[in-house]
Amino acid sequence: MRYLPLTADDRRAMLARIGASDVDALFRDVPQAAMAPLSAFHLPDTQGELEVERALSRLAAKNVAAGAAPFFCGAGAYKHHVPSSVDHLIQRSEFLTSYTPYQPEIAQGTLQYLFEFQTQVALLTGMDVANASLYDGSTATAEAVLMAQRITRRGKAILSGGLHPHYAETVETVAGLLGPMIRSAVTPGLPEDIIALIDEETACVVVQSPDVFGLIRNLKPIADAAHAKGALLVAVVTEAVSFGLLEPPGAQGADIVAAEGQSIGNGLNFGGPYVGLFATREKFLRQMPGRLCGETVDVEGRRGYVLTLSTREQHIRREKATSNICTNSGLCTLAFTIHLSLLGEEGLTRLARINHAKASALADMLSALPGIEVLTPSFFNEFTVRLPGPAAAVVDRLVEKGVIAGVPVSRLLPHDKSVEDLLIVAVTETNTDDDFAALTSALQGALA
């Protein structure tokens, strides 16, 4: 087996040093009845690189990659162009095959980029501090609600109807153990009256902007209303490129920001791995979950970085930890940091404007088609349209024409008949005029 360096001679010599007759003697603590013979495993035997590559390629070929068709899916994951140098750099052995930087003297590379990442996230979100990332946007949102419950010592959370339904379900699963999770009703394309639901038992209000339908939400009045009742505002962002064009949540009164960072540096990967961004106010620092990297000096006075404030974490605090999380999204974090470094201020703001301009252009084209109504008056790069019939069926018909038209709302809210005809359409810098023409003509054909 090509990955195993020991030869039969090596193994014999090593057993001799140990004083064991055979390798099974080393498993002597295992009950004999539990030792399974190889034949107990109905699985294939070793294969060469060529055969494995062939098998995996065959599976990959059965999928339609986003880049292989006019493509308009968003709803929490976005197809963006990632510069080639990003993927090259994250595959450097020293990044790819290192562990959590517990020995800072020989892990400054990882620690310094985490420090840069924390700074970038704090700047983008307009918050004081950010951690070294969580698993993804949805779990970051759940952690944000748990953190708000800790800070306020209250259990209830109000979840906006515009919050991605997968996010809402993730929050309900975890934070729902500590109090009621109230989902507010929403009409896609209109801001809901969430303020009326906030009371003295509310730990936090969770509002996504742009919301799952694409609508840009004004967070300030919601933050003010929450604060007046002693509750916190958790702001959720699923499209990180929007930070380049929109007022950050920190400037709108958010107390905690949970965001999905996939859009910057990371591929679609069928849903993971992604990178959860998590930022908050300085005063809540000690209640924050996840790894933190901090600046310090070594004994010679040289600047360096270490993991810090780790007494919040499970390996020290055990059952009193702020979270059970042990990892961050290391490499995805690095990809985010490198891509954002390449973009810089000018690149990110330009990229964001391109996204918005293209989405606006497509929205105009679609609203000109008979029977199609654009429901979202404001949006970043994603909007919702009403079709004359069930959107899922239209999407299926368009797949046959080689166009992937978007995410039917029924995929996310299967029980709500009122949203059955709605389609979420996302547009990024990767979409071309040809893509727009293909979509509009395919839609016209399907709806005729």
Binding site: T311, I316, R317, K320
Partner: protein, 124 residues
């Protein structure tokens, strides 16, 4: 003149009139290493003997500080929040954690005196 008693969890408590002051012992401070953070109880909080009252953290450890006796917290040493190093520099003086009014002075009397505590530490 105040009287000082000790617990087997390495807290000290000194009583002067009605008011008691609580901190961690020199032995505890040395074992804990450099203190980087303290979490102090709010004034008015009621604590029971052996109950969690405060937290002290070094880089690698977080330890609960237990109330040596039951009562009500009357003050906390907020200077430690800015300068946690005081706990290392003067654990049994300026590094005190909180003051409290005892509910039952008999609980105080049951604790180890300095000779008994010194013997206890030696046995560890």
């Amino acid at each position: 003149m105040s009287e000082v008693r000790y617990t087997d969890q390495h807290e000290w408590i000194s009583l002067e009139g009605d008011e008691a002051t609580v901190g961690i012992t020199k032995y505890a401070a040395e074992n804990l290493g450099d203190v980087v953070f303290v979490e102090l109880p709010a004034s008015g909080k009621t604590v029971s003997a052996g109950g969690e009252a405060a937290v002290v953290e070094s880089v690698k450890a977080a330890s609960d500080i237990y109330a040596p006796a039951g009562g009500t917290v009357t003050a906390a040493n907020t200077a430690l929040e800015k300068e946690p190093s005081k706990v290392n520099e003067d654990p049994e003086g300026a590094g005190w954690f909180f003051k409290m009014k005892l509910a039952d002075k008999a609980e105080f009397a049951k604790l180890m005196d300095s000779a008994a505590y010194a013997k206890f530490v030696e046995s560890l």
